[in-house]
Amino acid sequence: MNWKLPFDIPLVVPTMGLPGWFFDTLGIIVFVVHIAFIYTLIGASTASVLYNIFGVFKKSKTNNLLAYKMTNPTTISENMGALWGVAPLLVISVLYTGFFYTAILKVSPHILHIIYGNIFAFLLSYAYKFSWHSLHNHKGFHIAIGLVAVLTFYTLPPVFMSMSNLYLQPELFASVQNIWDIMLTPLTFFRLINFFLTAFAFTGIVMIYLGVKWVKAGGEETEVGRLAIDQGKKWFMWAAPVNIAVLPLVFFAFSPRISEAYIHTPFVFLPFAASAVLLILFFFLLKRFSNEEMSLSDATKAVVLMVVAVALMATARHGIRVVSFEEPLQLQAEATEKYMTDVIAEYKAYKEEMKNAPQVVLDPAVSLADSKGCLACHSVDVALVGPAYKEVAAKAESADILAASLKNGSTGKWGETPMPPQTLTDEETKTLIEWVLKQK
């Protein structure tokens, strides 16, 4: 296979002597925390708009209250999700520097949408949350704000996932020219379906957990807690089964080199294990489907099972990295080694040459002209930006005129490009002009 790969950064990876599995585990853990917040962000912001609409059409205060309460997990998860997104990127960009930067450059400038689009969505989601009471008589407008915020959040995963799918498949660096080349592929499609389904299933569990807490708090929150538990179960129970069908497909949509090698590793069992955990959780909830309330320990069990399923998916994804990067990382290391050996040999030879080079004694006037930047535009023999000093000397203007030109700048004498005024002492001006006039 013909690879197009950048060299590695010729600096040692700062492992501090820690083993490779430490960084793999660190990467997986910080990614799971990040993605858990992002799932909650996508689901909770959707839920808030959805129950706001239900509240209007069903004229239900409970639905409206649930919608309002879901803006809190939205705020927390959008902040924590952004913050915890930094950590996995930090780990990835230090371990797989060349692949990560190549991918991010190939999908530029669109990748900046994850900054500016995100700011836009953040601000709208705050506008939605903090205008809740002042816009309660303008529900249509209010819901429209929330809807635009949610839809903007929905545009972020396709952009980010395009980058991540490209960096995971370095063989595509030669053929992918822009973001659409990678976004409009079956892999991105399957991974997006998997992402959104997991987000909705995950949010279902979050709603159950929050609902149990609200019921426990009692009072007017009991009703909304029950609604959250009921709806949370439904969210999970439609999203999870579809996800179980889609999930294993994702890992066969990578390029043939990766998918074929993946089958021969133990990682291939992980998507199925994740599906199995989702299935267990499905039956766990089915058994309690008609209960209005749930115990806190049952809700906690559901959260734990869901997190386990997400961690299994994340580890399965890590398997793709292991399989995909083995060959290119090695090729890259060899190419970098060769390149840097040549570079350092040439650099040493150059330094040696400089050391042995005879010292040139310059006319002090030449050094002065150089230090004042004259030689950027003038040379002795040929006209460059400004006239050659030979030509100036031949014109034989008086020293005063030349001094005035130096002091105030000059244009028109030798063409339209002006010479800017120079900052020189009288002594320096004199030295320079004497020298210039000698260059006949």
Partner: protein, 464 residues
């Protein structure tokens, strides 16, 4: 040697793309987060101590504004600094991340404290505001938040100091004479500019946040339907103006102290850095601008302090605008005086490593440009693709600072120059005229191609 795919930003250029993000980030992180946390924690403590519940409510509304701006615009442009650096100079950021990974990881952990404390302070304010005990606990969290954001800034300025003195200990591909591996981090951290720099940042951030707080207090109280909130305008503006009366002179004193500690050579470049090359020697103009900005801040502060009730909105805006100019200049200057290097003595501003230059001068800059098509990097026998090849070289070596035809455009800079003149200029880029430019790297043939390309920008097209 640029072995990554090339990304160009037309018209505004990569520098401006980065600058937009960086300046927004500096405004929000200094004014909103660092200064804002201190000012609002003080205001919450003061109003609660005085039993001024309406004032306490005004502080909450201010906190809401600061919370919204710093968690959205501030946090994301912070991540944006990194993403922009990724696409502008992958070699530089890739090198820095190898050297500074653990320090950045620590910084990230500290950020967690800051964000969590802010979320907690803001989101529990309302439920806690009803009892005296709750308010006292809320004020405590505000103070924790202020301390944590100041510590974040402390760590970041320390890291900025480190970045000017990178440690390449134990690296195989480094010139041991340039980097002997005996970096003393204490010297790097406690260099003469560190303390005055940090103090200037701290106090001017608090002063800037005071100005922002005045601006928003004006808006919030003037348009409030609540009579009691409207009545807080005078005393809140007076309170924030008092903070400014203290911090503005302190910040100015440390700013002067800081300027004295900068090496002479770097100080001489400040006027160029602040404005453009045309102002290279106009020290007096620079002082005029600084006094103008400073004067605007001082005058508006005094008005706000002595006449908070009649303090006009336009003065509040002027106050904030003056601070924005100040931060803009400060950041531009700080970035500029590092040139022509990105990493001192290791990597030039265009991402080319110093060690690589002799080798690339021999084999050519384009030899290892993996992602460039063959017909754009290999000169044909008949030289028919000379200009295309030159264009590729410009994309690799000039892209970081110059555009073709927009900001700092090559076309504009070489208007009226002959190809010969351009070629000569390329020969002495880091000369005395432009000491901040890195040298041309590549073979003589490549220099011809680059000169031909730049000259072609000012030639008229033809109908074929």
């Amino acid at each position: 040697m640029f072995d990554f795919p090339i990304f160009e930003m037309p018209t505004i250029g990569l520098r401006m793309l980065m600058a937009i993000n960086a300046i927004i980030h500096v405004f929000v992180s200094h004014g909103g987060a660092v200064g804002g946390s201190v000012v609002l924690a003080l205001a919450a403590w003061w109003t609660n101590k005085k039993g001024d519940l309406a004032g306490y409510e005004t502080v909450y509304r201010l906190l809401m504004v600061f919370f919204i701006i710093s968690t959205s615009v501030g946090a994301l442009t912070g991540i944006g600094m990194w993403i922009h650096a990724n696409i502008i100079s992958p070699n530089a950021i890739g090198g820095l991340i190898r050297v500074f990974f653990w320090k950045w990881f620590i910084e990230w952990i500290v950020f967690n404290f800051e964000v969590i404390l802010l979320l907690f302070w803001f989101m529990t304010w309302k439920p806690k505001a009803t009892t005296a005990q709750g308010r006292a606990s809320s004020v405590r969290f505000g103070i924790y938040y202020a301390v944590s954001s100041w510590i974040t800034m402390l760590i970041i300025t320390a890291i900025l100091g480190f970045m000017l003195t990178p440690n390449f200990d134990g690296q195989p591909w480094i010139d041991p004479e340039v980097y002997p591996g005996t970096v003393n981090y204490n010297n790097a951290l406690f260099n003469p500019t560190w303390f005055p720099g940090l103090m200037m940042r701290t106090f001017s951030s608090i002063a800037f946040a005071g100005a922002l707080a005045i601006l928003w207090t004006w808006l919030i109280t003037s348009f409030s339907k609540d009579e009691e909130i409207r009545a807080t305008k005078e005393r809140m503006i007076k309170f924030f103006a008092t903070i400014m009366m203290v911090t503005v002179p302190v910040a100015a004193a440390f700013g002067y102290y800081y300027l004295l500690q900068i090496p002479e050579a770097a100080r001489a470049m400040i006027p160029t850095a602040m404005m453009t090359r045309a102002f290279a020697d106009k020290m007096d103009l620079m002082y005029m601008i600084i006094s103008g900005i400073g004067g605007a801040v001082v005058v508006t502060t005094i008005i706000a302090y002595f006449s908070p009730k009649r303090f006009p909105y336009i003065a509040a805006t002027l106050m904030v605008a003056a601070f924005m100019l100040f931060w803009g200049f400060e950041e531009r200057t700080r970035e500029f005086i590092r040139k022509p290097y990105l990493i001192y003595n290791y990597m030039y501003a265009n991402g080319i490593r110093v060690t690589d230059v002799p080798y690339l001068n021999k084999v050519g800059i384009l030899k290892h440009a993996v992602f460039v098509d063959e017909d754009k990097k290999v000169l044909k026998e008949d030289k028919s693709n000379l200009i295309e090849v030159g264009h590729t070289i410009a994309q690799i070596e000039c892209r970081a600072c110059h555009t073709e035809n927009g900001i700092n455009g090559l076309k504009f800079l070489t208007k009226g120059w002959s190809e010969e003149a351009i070629r000569n200029r390329i020969n002495n880029l880091p000369g005395a005229g432009t000491p901040y430019m890195p040298p041309f790297t590549g073979t003589e043939a490549e220099k011809d191609a680059l000169a031909a390309y730049i000259a072609s920008l000012n030639k008229r097209g033809e109908i074929k």
